[in-house]
Symmetry: C2
Subunit: 378 residues, 2 copies
């Protein structure tokens, strides 16, 4: 008998309605019944994306949707500007490379947000830049970027803005249309409270012009095929039926609360987590640009961060994430995204206190939980 | 109140154990717990593929796995031989085109199997052919190809044999290693009794040499990344966790019966379906190469095939498939693949009789069901 608690930045816990939806008998996808489901899913995604643009559903992980945006917008020899301040930001340039696309890089110190002015400067310096690749919330550092300000900068140019909102969509505000986000990419296993297996991508009319012009080879991720299909409420290839049925349950929950309330809940959760870890003497990794999606905190000097995460998970059933890439062993990352509530955070902080105490970290027992409780009481 | 019966060649009905598995709380994928699941899935797939080769699991539909085999094996300017005798066979050449791969085509009349001698002739005529693309069971026509004979032909050459076994794997015999199938591609929603969303691909050492040499651009579907990951019991990108958990339930069911018994069950089902539709006066579309996966029967002269399929589905809840491509409106296709048993076939034939009678087709009521019953009694 062992109870598991999931506080990772993807996958996030599944609401019972979502789980139940996946256990229903399967239906065929080329039927009016599934067309109605696909239509509802597409409309619901437009609400969450805050867009009037087309939103396509891919049977892939979020990386598949990222690749779709790279190869559909750019041709070999084209130039893109890629913002990287963490493991997932780096993926944009990695994706450009095999396709012969030049990626100019803005290297942002891990734990910091990118400066929109820097993007403006780079766009002015090189008018050949066709696409700017950014990240809403960099999962590996917990940093949130100022997409609104970046959108204003990019919108003044011919370039197209692509936002990786895999972490963040449905958890924090992202006004796709109002903030001039031409392409927004997301995945199912984060704020949308589903298992992994679906990629999402919204495309503005400005971006569609690049898609028509792109000479990069593509088939499965060809958004021209996706556009042709969605205009007939269809998909070009067999869709991940059960996940799309479950998506409608999650979207209904988000719609019922309304985006504002959903974002406020995430902020409350994040505020509580931030004060709690600080009360335990753990510094925030991104104090100036901390997202409401996932909190990255520094492992106290002398403590083994990997052991901390492993003990919480393997001994007590509480799964949080550790550091990635250059921060391996140096960070803990506690997600407060999707179907996570107040008392899940309390449970997570309590387990963190227990293992920190066992590992010899000096702090006042209960202080983290109390700080979170006081924050929640506000 | 309406009961639905699914007799389509993908998705196929889900066993209750599979449905239940998907409704379990989700777990994180970078954990020892998921590693054990991934290992079990990979081993189980090797059993069903009848191979010692690596089998990779992709988060994509079957077409994604087909694209993976094209771009990992071939470079721009390379030549492949593509067998096409239906909608899915045609996909191989469609996939080659954007990547600048020359596809020589063997055009097989729809409803017929390809002649292995023709493949031998073409390989001799053009020693530049690096890859031969074939289909185990062509879903659009119900035809099964003689992969064993094709394997013997291709194995005598430098070329690599790729088999699209999306329809057929786990339903009819395919001895990957014994029949020299270098690459076998499959999907989750057919013989493996899962929802769509997973692609599978097995790779022989001979094929791995082409993978190392391929200059086609790729990232998400890069099998070099997949190989590196699986050697550490990992995946390069976030896997479709719930579907893989469900896969293990389906694989356990197949293993419990054993492949021989599973194939015998499919044959029995196919034999009964074939005699039943013929007893109703419907000719088999592929009398000389009918697969045990799906039966394609010709719609009687003067009858509207699309209306027949729609009425069965929308009025009576029995979903079968109609004709695709050039056979639209002219065929019905009844699947007997995956979690389908004797009395599902009886139900399907009975509904077919009902609608045929309503549409004015002349036949002796009950004759199709009786023919199936007699076949099952043998």
């Amino acid at each position: 008998m062992r109870k598991n608690y999931l506080l990772t930045p993807g996958p996030t816990p599944l609401p019972p309605k979502v789980s139940e939806a996946m256990s229903r008998p399967i239906i065929h996808h080329r039927t009016p019944q599934f067309q109605a489901i696909l239509k509802e899913a597409t409309e619901g995604l437009k609400y969450v994306f805050q867009t009037k643009n087309d939103v396509f559903i891919l049977a892939s992980s979020g990386t598949g949707a990222m690749e779709a945006s790279v190869i559909n917008l750019l041709s070999p020899g084209d130039t893109a500007l890629s913002v990287q301040g963490g493991k997932f930001g780096e993926r944009w340039a990695e994706l450009c490379k095999p396709y012969g696309i030049n990626a100019e890089i803005i290297d942002v110190e891990w734990g910091k947000a990118v400066s929109p002015l820097e993007i403006e400067k780079r766009l002015k310096a090189n008018p050949k830049i066709k696409v700017v690749f950014t990240t809403l919330c960099e999962t590996s550092t917990g940093v949130v970027n100022d997409i609104k300000a970046i959108g204003e900068v990019v919108n003044k140019t011919e370039a197209v803005l692509v936002v990786d909102a895999i972490s963040g969509l449905g958890a924090i505000d992202l006004k796709t249309d109002e903030w001039f986000c031409d392409v927004v990419v997301s995945g199912s296993q984060k704020g949308l409270m589903l298992p992994p297996g679906l990629g999402f991508i919204s495309v503005s009319p400005k971006a569609f012009k690049l898609i028509e012009a792109s000479k990069s080879p593509r088939y499965y991720f060809d958004l021209r095929k996706a556009k042709k299909a969605i205009d007939k409420t269809d998909t070009p290839f067999t869709p991940a039926i059960t996940l799309i049925i479950a998506l409608n349950e999650a979207l209904a929950m988000i719609k019922e609360d309304g985006l504002e309330k959903v974002f406020a809940r995430h902020k409350k959760m994040a505020d509580a987590t931030r004060v709690a870890v600080q009360a335990l003497g753990l510094g925030l990794f991104a104090p100036t640009a901390a997202s409401d999606v996932v909190t990255a905190a520094k492992v106290p000097q002398g403590l083994d961060g990997e052991k901390l995460v492993k003990t919480m998970r393997d001994t007590y059933g509480v799964t949080i994430a550790g550091g990635q890439g250059e921060m391996k062993g140096k960070l803990i990352r506690i997600a407060h995204m999707g179907f996570i509530e107040e008392f899940d955070i309390i449970a997570g902080i309590s387990c963190l206190e227990k293992v920190l105490a066992q590992m010899g970290h000096k702090f006042e027992m209960g202080k983290g939980v109390r700080a979170a409780e006081e924050e929640f009481l506000k």
